[in-house]
């Protein structure tokens, strides 16, 4: 039955006249102050290289998204959910992306409670102080970029004073990122020195104790003329499992505190940004525990500029600097130790054509220290106001198996999608 879902959804979308959906929307808005939008999408992707135990299809799914928002005068309710028929994981599932209430108890205070997507920081597809959940699997298999951000179950309070703004986020139970565990993308196992796949997926020890496994994030921000300044604090856990339980060999989420700051401003006719953060790996302060990732200093600097009309270029430099490197090297127990510095450059090129209906983009990560790269080419075309077709790739290149992008080399994939939205 589920194999019929994708063609069924496409048929449904074709049969539904535009006028009917427009009327439905107007009725909801006029009678219930409810804003409604939706899309139906089919997306298929293939691995270009089949020399390991993963499925041929990198992605094969049909997705229906419903997005509702109701204005209650004193508050706004949001509900956004996806319904997915997934042929790779052979399941149908609902993904609740937003279920939240927003209100202002005081003139200068906004509160949003519930499931929500939270984003801050200045990096472009690089995150230092944005320690909210990500979905790296979605990113690498070619889902829409929207799905890189995973929702958090959080209470967000924003306070707006004359001098500064303060955002406080409390996550009662840890929301980790969806990490690469072998199910759909194979990974480097540094204990065994081999590539792991869906026959030996990684297991993690969940952090799910209410109160004990909570996360807290804060941002203090201020704009001075055109300059945006922000200070950040995060207290919680590594968002991907950067530790190993030495008795069970399960992955664990060690405690982490991050202190950071960022500046973003117009410079030289473009936009420049600098962001830095100190990652304090609190369960391994001395850096001598081989089972827990060391503390790190992270830094990024970026610049975006219009190269020509409808053609934009952006460049970033990013650094991960492992602290207590001597301790790390002395105590290292795996197969291949990481470098003290991981340097990474990114380049984004975006070209808009045909009244901005056709977009070509290429996002490239390249690490000279790891000798690896990750390329994200993409072309998308708005056939009409409702139909959009997209094709792209996730290309991993690496000299070594143990580097961040190098480990994914056999997962290079291409994909195409068709979306109907209203």
């Amino acid at each position: 039955m589920k194999y019929l879902l994708a063609p069924f959804l496409v048929m449904l979308s074709c049969l539904m006249p535009q006028s009917a959906s427009a009327t439905l929307r107007d009725t909801l808005y006029d009678n219930y102050q409810t804003d409604f939008s939706s899309f139906i999408e089919v997306r298929n992707g293939w691995r270009t290289d089949r020399n390991q135990d993963e499925k041929n299809a990198s992605i094969a799914e049909a997705r229906l998204q419903l997005d509702l928002s109701t204005d209650l005068t004193w508050a706004i309710l949001k509900l956004k959910s996806d319904f997915v028929g997934d042929l790779v994981e052979e399941e149908t599932r609902a993904e609740l992306r937003d279920f939240s209430i927003s209100f202002s108890p005081l003139d200068f205070v906004d509160i949003r409670a519930g499931r929500q997507i939270i984003t801050w920081g200045t990096g472009d597809l690089l995150f230092i102080n944005d320690l909210f959940a990500k979905d790296w699997e979605s990113f690498f298999i070619g889902r829409d970029t929207e799905y890189l951000k995973a929702p958090s179950d959080a209470l967000k309070t924003s306070i707006f004073w004359e001098a500064v703004n303060l955002d406080l986020v409390y996550v009662p139970v840890f929301n980790g990122s969806k990490f690469i565990d072998g199910t759909r993308i194979s990974y480097w196992n540094n204990l065994s020195g081999t590539i792991g796949d869906r026959t030996n997926t990684l297991r993690d020890e969940e952090r799910n104790r209410f109160g004990n496994d909570s996360e807290f994030a804060a941002r203090l921000s201020k704009n001075i003329d055109s300059i945006e300044l922000a200070f950040y604090l995060y207290s919680g856990f590594w968002k991907t499992p950067e530790g190993i339980n030495p008795t069970t060999f399960d992955l664990i989420y060690p405690r982490l505190t991050v202190y950071g700051l960022s500046v973003r401003a117009p410079v030289l006719g473009g936009i420049g940004n600098i962001e830095t953060g100190y990652y304090d790996s609190r369960q391994d302060s001395a850096g001598n525990n081989p089972f827990i990732r060391n503390s790190e200093v992270r830094l990024l600097a970026g610049f975006e500029h219009e190269l020509a009309t409808d053609f934009t270029g952006a460049f970033q430099y990013y650094l991960e600097w492992k602290q207590d490197y001597d301790q790390y090297e002395q105590n290292f127990t795996g197969v291949k130790a990481a470098d003290e510095y991981r340097h990474l450059f990114t380049v984004r090129l975006t070209r808009l054509l045909m009244n901005q209906n056709l977009t070509f983009s290429l996002f490239t990560y390249y690490s000279p220290s790891d000798h690896d790269a990750y390329l994200r080419p993409k072309a998308s075309y708005n056939i009409s106001d409702h139909w959009k077709v997209e094709a792209g790739g996730n290309i991993f290149i690496g000299r070594d198996d143990q580097t961040f992008f190098g480990q994914f080399e056999d997962n290079t994939n291409i994909y195409a999608s068709l979306r109907w939205s209203y």
Partner: protein, 264 residues
Amino acid sequence: MNNRPVLLLLVFITLFITPVTVHSTPEVKEIINKANNAAYYAGDDGKAQVTMTITDSQGRQRTREFNILRRDSADGGEQQFYVYFKRPSDVRNMVFMVHKHIDRDDDRWLYLPALSLVKRIAASDNRTSFVGSHFYYEDVSGRPPLADTHELIEENDTYYVIKNTPRAPDSVEFSSYTVWVNKSNFMPMRAEYSNKTGQKYRLVEALEVKTIQGFPTVVKSRVADLLDGGETISEFSNITYNIGLDEDIFTERYLHRPPREARQ
């Protein structure tokens, strides 16, 4: 020495010249400033619902529907814009915000609701298409009068016709443009752009003007690409001026939480 003849002469000159000055053409700079105020600074603030119909050279049509809020810090001075997209659905609920400056590049932000992301956009080139239409960013928020030199080339019963030449020709795609300014209300009604080879290639025109709360207002306008035949028609409705928009609306807070004025 008797100064009387000189005094009489002065009085005579004054009497004779003053009425002439009153009836003469205002300085071209003054016309341009008045036209700029009429087109972009009506009231202290305002809102409108905008529907753009974009027709490309092949005759394919796309629509854009958005609400726009505007607030002036001072007439002819800094302004803030808040554009809330309603259609098509792939841009639904996105927000585009501009802080327009006079002495430096504008600040622009784009809010992408699906990612909850506030993106800063470089504003170096104001002469790029606004949301894929034939309107440029500059047509929406106004070109600073100081960016061009102005010359009154014709005056008839209805219009002042002014030729504008860019002070920095390399920064724009045109060599000059000619504007027809309505003499009665100073509304610019038509602008024709010539490219570097002297060919007329772009036409911006007001198709319908209504008086709303005492302010002459363009409620329908059109940009035509005279070379490839494409055009965009903008229709403005639900226009209200002087609604008392708070400056705070044009900050990051309201990107995450669009104000009711923008959503309605």
